[in-house]
């Protein structure tokens, strides 16, 4: 493309400059700092000492809660992303049908996406309170239960609730991604399939799924990253208690760094988390770039 806009060799870089500066200073720099810190000695008050090699990493891996936290993080990401992808897909399929009130229904679906996670988590925290929570109140006053139920009777159940809230706030994003994919499918595909005598499942697996796969891939990868980084839900609902049994990596990182003040292992954990993210991001980049190329 030889556009008249392309006046000098340096013009494009000039246009990119503000953006590059912004990203370099506030994104790249912190990354470098974290890497440097993870190899340095850090005192409790945050004073930075000399190079200590991989000591911080060793300390991090040897933390008593390390294994639990990593396992929790794995389940957190897998369950939230997995369930919300399936649910979001189903909801999108339904909300793509024509029915009365579809506009309102879709507008309602946006709510959780637009609400701050701290607020969502606080509300759910209140909802499932055993002693005075809203869920017990509603169920009792509707005559559905006769005795208040302890909705958080063990930490495993509390963790499941946290995953539930995670799913609740993630579903709309998936649903809208899938909806955008569904809308790009031409009706003629389905009509042709109907003529060929294809049933509901045939259409689902032969047309719908392949056509929305790109949106689904993208939303899944994005979700893996969002969910991995999610902090407010766990922090608001349990703070990782009891004894880090409900912590995910991000909340643990925070507690380690700002509550237990073990800044050294915390930075090491930070780097580990960052590398995990990079792996996901790289995967995502390759998928998207490949698609870009295919389109050109």
């Amino acid at each position: 493309m030889n556009s008249p806009l392309n006046r000098s060799r340096w013009t494009p870089y000039l246009w990119l400059m503000p953006s590059i500066i912004l990203i370099a200073v506030f994104v790249i720099f912190p990354i470098l700092i974290v890497f440097k810190l993870s190899f340095s000695e850090i005192s409790k008050a945050g004073v930075i000492g000399g190079y200590v090699g991989f000591q911080n990493y060793k300390d991090a891996v040897n933390l008593p809660a390390f294994k639990t936290v990593m396992l929790n993080t794995f389940w957190w990401v897998v369950s939230v992303v997995g369930v919300s992808t399936v649910l979001g897909f189903v909801i999108a399929m339904v909300f793509n049908q024509k029915f009365r009130g579809r506009k309102i229904a879709r507008a309602i679906l946006v709510f959780p996406w637009a609400t701050s996670l701290v607020i969502q988590a606080s509300v759910w925290n209140y909802i499932i309170k055993y002693e005075y929570g809203s869920l017990n109140s509603v169920l009792l006053n509707l005559g559905i239960i006769k005795q208040a139920i302890n909705w958080r009777s063990s930490y495993q159940i509390e963790f499941i609730w946290e995953c539930g809230v995670g799913i609740f706030v993630t579903v709309p994003f998936v649903a809208f991604c899938v909806l955008s994919g569904l809308q790009s499918i031409d009706d003629s595909y389905y009509e042709a399939a109907t003529v060929d005598g294809a049933g509901f499942w045939d259409k689902l697996f032969r047309i719908t799924l392949p056509m929305v796969r790109p949106s689904l891939t993208v939303s899944t990868v994005l979700n893996i990253i969002y969910v991995f980084n999610s902090f407010p839900i766990v922090y608001t609902m349990t703070k990782g208690a009891p004894a880090n049994k409900t912590d995910t990596m991000i909340t643990y990182l925070y507690m380690l760094s700002f509550y237990e003040r073990k800044k050294g292992p915390a930075t090491a954990l930070s780097v580990i988390g960052f590398l995990i993210l990079c792996a996901c991001a790289g995967l995502y980049m390759i998928t998207v770039m490949r698609k870009e190329e295919a389109e050109q």
Partner: protein, 530 residues
């Protein structure tokens, strides 16, 4: 149009309609409700069978039972002895005396007794009768008619029948739950002295239902230990009516499949919407409760007894306007900055050719993934060095930077989808590149830009984690951090927490709803091109 083959199936369907209704009536007249009226309970601690205290208490209980028997009740005295050996080796004992009467009542016996559920029941019966009548009238002499060619009168009658049955079906859970509430919970609350409102009325009705009005003033004692339960058979009303409903639909449309699909669709949509709205109901309702009511351990009220509007004015004195202003500054500033930097970059990416474009594109895609949270420590260190810690400006910059990649990606997608011809024409007319961008491309790409703008704004508005770490002075907090002061461990003020949450949520939800239409297109044209 007539089809004699239809007579058989239609007759069968009509039979099912009648059968379902009949079954429902039978169920309703069965004694499915059982009441254990524990009319009197006396707990006597430190009492042993046969000792003096036991004898006196027992005598007291006998006397009470005799009193009830005199009123014609078949009472039984129960005696539950709980003995334990305590740590000192002494035996302790708790004896619970009860005077009980067991009764059964059919759902139909509630009719005309004035319960809330009585009216529901009457309505349900009326609907069933109406359905039956309409169906019969709609079928007489038309059993061989093809469904989609029914005359208007028959069609309307059959429609009416199906609709009545649907409503009756929906009333079943309402009826059952209302009774559950009245018999178990409401009476429990009255007897515990937690609720006064409507007590007299319900007690009189219960007296009428259980004791034919014999109890009078004694009813309060008689209901003291009431346990009510209903047999699971009661729920069979739903399948019974469903059979009728399906048969009625068959009679109207010739097939039930598409109607059932449609019903399932609406059911699903309603459930999804209710679940989604539930937290917002909780937030709104709790925001206007009094503190005592937010911590109500007896779950007395679904809605505030009194809407405390002053909660809203109270949070004004607790710094909320300041927090909102900070959030506005952070989100607004971040959005403006992200756009000012992002639009030129996206423009260059969409329209210009240069070395390293692909690498930059890859970098942009990848850095969408970088979250500030995992880099917390690095960011707080950086902000210290720049003396931007604990400032609104610093927060603004961080939010702008971390949303930059996403903004570029969205904007680039929008720009690419617009043909460059118009700008080229404008430039030939003497506009510079900047002129072409601001006068031609930006207006044309407005929907995409607005989408990106709102995305960035909402992301920044809702950001919490970085703000908790960076901001230490109260007056610099954005609203997401500011509201946490209401949930401090030594005093959770749920009403203020949710009042502030409500104020913080409404504008963003409205913003997001305004771009809901563009959401799908924005996602496709930008980051998530399908």
């Amino acid at each position: 149009m007539k089809n004699p083959d239809l007579v058989g199936p239609n007759r069968r369907a009509l039979l099912f309609v009648i059968l379902g209704i009949a079954l429902s009536l039978i169920l309703l007249s069965m004694p499915l409700y059982s009441f254990d009226a524990c009319v009197y309970t006396k707990k006597s601690p430190n009492t042993f069978v046969g000792d003096e205290k036991y004898r006196s208490v027992r005598a007291e209980v006998e006397q009470v039972a005799d009193g009830y028997r005199a009123q014609g009740m078949a009472c039984e005295i129960g005696e539950d002895v709980l003995e334990r050996v305590n740590s000192k080796g002494e035996t302790t004992s708790l004896i619970t005396f009860t005077v009980t009467e067991r009764m059964s009542r059919s759902p139909l016996s509630l009719l005309g007794k004035g319960f809330a559920a009585s009216k529901v029941l009457a309505l349900m019966l009326g609907l069933l009768a109406l359905a039956l009548a309409a169906e019969l009238a709609g079928c007489v002499g038309g059993m061989d008619l093809v469904q989609f060619r029914l005359d208007t009168r028959r069609a309307a009658l059959r429609n009416l029948a199906a609709l009545s049955l649907l409503l009756a079906l929906l009333l079943v859970p309402v009826f059952i739950l209302m009774n559950n509430y009245a018999f178990s919970r409401q009476i429990g609350l009255y007897t515990a002295g937690l609720l006064e409102e409507g007590k007299e009325a319900l007690y009189t009705r219960m007296d009428a239902l259980l004791f034919e009005g014999r109890m009078g003033a004694e009813i309060e004692k008689a209901l003291g230990g009431l346990t009510a339960s209903h047999s699971g058979l009661l729920w069979m009303l739903m399948p019974a009516m469903l059979v009728s409903l399906l048969a009625a639909v068959q009679l109207r449309y010739g097939s039930i499949q598409s109607s059932a699909m449609k019903a399932a669709l609406y059911f699903f949509v309603v459930v999804v919407c209710l679940v989604t709205l539930y937290p917002y109901y909780v937030m709104t309702v709790t925001a206007f409760r009094s503190n005592a009511e937010t911590l109500d351990m007896y779950f007395l009220h679904l809605f505030p007894t009194k809407w405390i509007w002053s909660n809203l004015s109270d949070i004004i004195h607790r710094g909320v306007p300041r927090y909102l202003l900070n959030s506005l500054l952070v989100a607004g500033g971040a959005t403006v900055l992200a756009m000012l930097c992002g639009i030129p970059a996206a423009f260059a990416m969409a329209r210009m050719k240069f070395w390293g474009k692909k690498a930059f594109l890859g970098f942009v895609i990848m850095s969408q993934m970088f979250s500030p949270v995992v880099l917390l420590i690095g960011i707080s260190q950086l902000m210290n060095t720049l003396h931007l810690n604990d400032s609104v400006l610093g927060l603004m910059l961080i939010n702008a930077a971390f949303n930059q990649a996403f903004a570029i990606w969205l904007l680039r997608g929008t720009f690419v989808s617009i043909s460059p011809e118009m700008e080229q024409a404008a430039m030939i007319d003497g506009c510079g590149t900047v002129g072409a961008l601001t006068r031609v491309l930006i207006p044309m790409a407005a929907p995409g830009i607005v989408t990106a703008l709102i995305f960035v704004f909402i992301n920044a508005w809702n950001e919490y984690t970085i703000a908790t770490v960076l901001i230490s002075t109260a007056s610099n907090r954005p609203i997401t951090v500011g509201i946490t002061q209401f949930s401090s461990f030594n005093m959770i003020e749920w009403q203020y927490l949710f009042a502030a949450s409500l104020v913080a949520t409404i504008p963003v939800v409205l913003l997001f709803m305004s771009i809901e239409k563009h959401l799908t297109s924005g996602l496709t044209s930008g980051g998530v091109k399908g």
